[in-house]
């Protein structure tokens, strides 16, 4: 019995996603090298910087658990940023913009979902193409009207705090909690796990497979829209270009968090700490004054080492 118990603890230990380890290691390093930064206020500001990625990851992990992927987040963020900053809708209230953003996210998510689940086209390519179309659409619009300022109210809200926590960070935590409860406690969560594990078995169990995949994508679109709102509020100014690397980073954070295509051992908090690890890594390297090539190399090695550590530990016997 003791042996079996020990075995179970070991099993569980082996499943700790690499992101927890990286996060702990980086936090420790920061604490040793820059103890004055270990202050909740300062950390709050740092975490706030990464919130858009964090929210995007919530959608990414959901679609990855149903063996899909969403690379359209960059385009959604750019489009929403554009129409908030372009002045194309003079006098629109903040709530109007929020509603428009959410509607955009839902429409794009639905489109992605239907293309992937109903038409069965390649998820990588269809979402990448959607992103390209959206970026292109913004470029087209900006030839008639380049983007300008973001209404001041967004920045004002971005800088508020609730319960001593920066509002964007609180939003992220709440969304993560909701997503975690949603996946762990609802019937939909079971459907997601089933579809990810075996699509036809899910079908034969009576799971509405296509609907599950579509809903996952709709939620991912919604998350991208929320990420866009936070991102827009944080930058106060319009842009014609966002990094296409944002969705790839979201995928990386998700995998580091222990969620891969079809499997979700890291749950929702694994990717959460994956995102936090990226934030800490950035801060650590910036405060240590690592130069650009050095940053790239260190970043590469840390992600790789964490993944190797996890990979070796969880290798099947």
């Amino acid at each position: 019995m003791a042996m079996i118990l020990a075995d179970k603890t070991w099993q569980r230990l082996r499943r700790i996603p690499p992101s927890y380890l990286v996060f702990a290691a980086l936090l420790l390093t920061l604490w040793v090298l820059r103890p004055h930064m270990m202050n909740p206020n300062i950390l709050g500001i740092f975490i706030r910087q990464i919130v858009p990625l964090g929210i995007l990851v919530l959608g990414q992990l959901l679609v990855m658990r149903v063996r899909s992927i969403d690379l359209s987040g960059g385009g959604v963020i750019l489009l929403i940023n554009y129409y908030i900053s372009s002045g194309l809708f003079p006098g629109a209230s903040m709530m109007t913009f929020v509603a428009m953003a959410i509607a955009t996210g839902l429409v794009i998510g639905t489109f992605n979902g239907v293309m992937i689940a109903k038409r069965r086209v390649s998820a990588v390519i269809v979402t990448l193409a959607v992103s390209i179309v959206l970026v292109g659409f913004v470029q087209y619009l900006s030839s008639g009207k380049p983007p300008g300022d973001v209404p001041a109210m967004f920045a004002a809200l971005y800088n508020t705090k609730l319960l001593g926590i920066p509002t964007p960070v609180l939003l992220w935590i709440v969304l993560t909690l909701l997503m975690s409860l949603f996946l762990a406690r609802t019937v939909f969560g079971r459907a997601v796990a089933s579809v990810g594990e075996n699509l036809s078995a899910a079908h034969f169990s009576g799971v509405a497979v296509e609907r599950t995949v579509i809903v996952a994508h709709i939620l991912a679109g919604l998350m991208a829209a929320l990420a866009a709102l936070v991102q827009t509020a944080s930058i106060a100014v319009g842009s014609v270009r966002v990094g296409l690397d944002l969705p790839i980073l979201a995928v990386a954070a998700t995998i580091l968090g222990g969620v891969v295509f079809g499997r979700g051992e890291g749950g929702v908090w694994g990717p959460f700490f994956g995102v936090l690890s990226f934030a800490l890594l950035f801060i650590l390297m910036t405060t240590l004054g690592v130069d650009e090539p050095g940053k790239l190399i260190i970043q590469g090695f840390i992600i790789l080492l964490a993944a190797i550590f996890y990979g070796v530990r969880s290798a099947k016997p």
Binding site: M115, A123, I125, V133, G136, V213, I303, G311, A315
Partner: protein, 320 residues
């Protein structure tokens, strides 16, 4: 025999994926361009087109090898940049060119080892490799410049019997990759491994006695070496080393592979499809230039056509 030929054309009853549709689209674009512009069909432009498409064709073929085993290599863009940086170090070609390929093979081998022996997801393994290689490239060559060996430049810009050399590059690359994919057991084993992975039977090929890990490793090495080859070609074209020349090229390569009907979940795909996919992308770029399309709408048009191509490629199974 006849019906199976038709099936082959439609990509059915085989593992080649849906490549006939992109072929049709490529032909449609080409036809449209030759009707609407005078320059498109000029030999000069057609040779331009081949030259312009070559780096993508080469990189995409390499990428296809890892995609066939359900993998992905995000480090190819950095490998391309690194290759140009090394070639521009200044030195004899007979040292630099082997060095480029050795290094690329090493990078591919590390990718492959990390994926197969250390059990790391390919996206993570190759993304970290992308960062590391880009960092090293930036140290080697912080900004573009340097001198590329003359032979490299000549091999890209010269002609033989009045035919531009890139045409011969194309023929050589096709012969090499045809041999690897269809002429050797290697290619068949990649299909086997990929088919197993795609249908959730990871160990089946292994149980059949296929050296699974070694072949996966070799696929990553192949991919990296093809990227290096594209790097050599590009170095000859931009006549310098450049730390950013391969930036985001991995996405273009993956897109080209997918447009050609290869499935990202592994086990289904074809060489001709990949070449067609790369040609669709090159035709789009060339066509938009020739029709003087405003740069502000080019991205939309490119995205829309991609969307159209994949939108029509509906498959049986859901997936990446």
């Amino acid at each position: 025999m006849k019906p199976s030929y038709l099936k082959w054309l439609l990509g059915q009853g085989s593992r080649q994926g849906l490549w006939s549709l992109p072929l049709f689209i490529a032909l449609a674009i080409a036809l449209g361009l030759s009707l609407t512009t005078q320059q498109f069909t000029s030999t000069g432009n057609l040779f331009n087109l081949i030259t312009q498409a070559m780096p993508l064709i080469i990189t995409a073929i390499g990428q296809m090898f890892v995609i066939l085993i359900g993998g992905l290599d995000l480090s190819v863009g950095s490998v391309i940049s690194l290759s140009t940086a090394i070639l521009a170090l200044g030195g004899p070609a007979y040292v630099l060119i082997p060095a480029v390929f050795l290094l690329a093979a090493l990078i591919g081998a590390v990718n492959g080892l990390v994926v197969t022996r250390l059990n790391v997801h390919p996206i993570i393994a190759t993304l970290s490799m992308q960062y590391i290689v880009l960092g090293v490239t930036r140290i080697l060559r912080p900004v573009s410049g340097g001198t590329v060996p003359d032979i490299v430049i000549a091999s890209v810009s010269g002609t033989l019997l009045g035919i531009p050399l890139p045409v011969f590059w194309g023929i050589a690359v096709l012969l090499l990759s045809w041999k690897l994919l269809h002429g050797a057991r290697f290619g068949l084993h990649l299909f086997a491994i990929g088919g197993g992975i795609a249908s959730g039977m990871e160990k089946v090929a292994h149980n059949f006695g296929v050296a699974e890990r070694r072949n996966i490793l070799l696929a990553y090495v192949t991919c990296s070496c093809f990227a290096a080859l594209a790097g050599v070609f590009l170095a000859g074209r931009i006549v310098s080393g450049d730390p950013n020349v391969g930036l985001l090229f991995e996405l273009d390569a993956i897109t080209a592979v997918a447009i050609g009907g290869t499935q990202l979940s592994g086990g289904v795909g074809s060489l001709h499809g990949t070449v067609i996919g790369a040609l669709v992308m090159a035709l789009l770029a060339n066509g938009m230039n020739l029709t003087n399309m405003s740069p502000f709408i080019q991205t939309t048009v490119k995205g829309a056509i991609l969307l159209l191509v994949v939108g029509l490629q509906s498959r049986k199974k859901m997936g990446l």
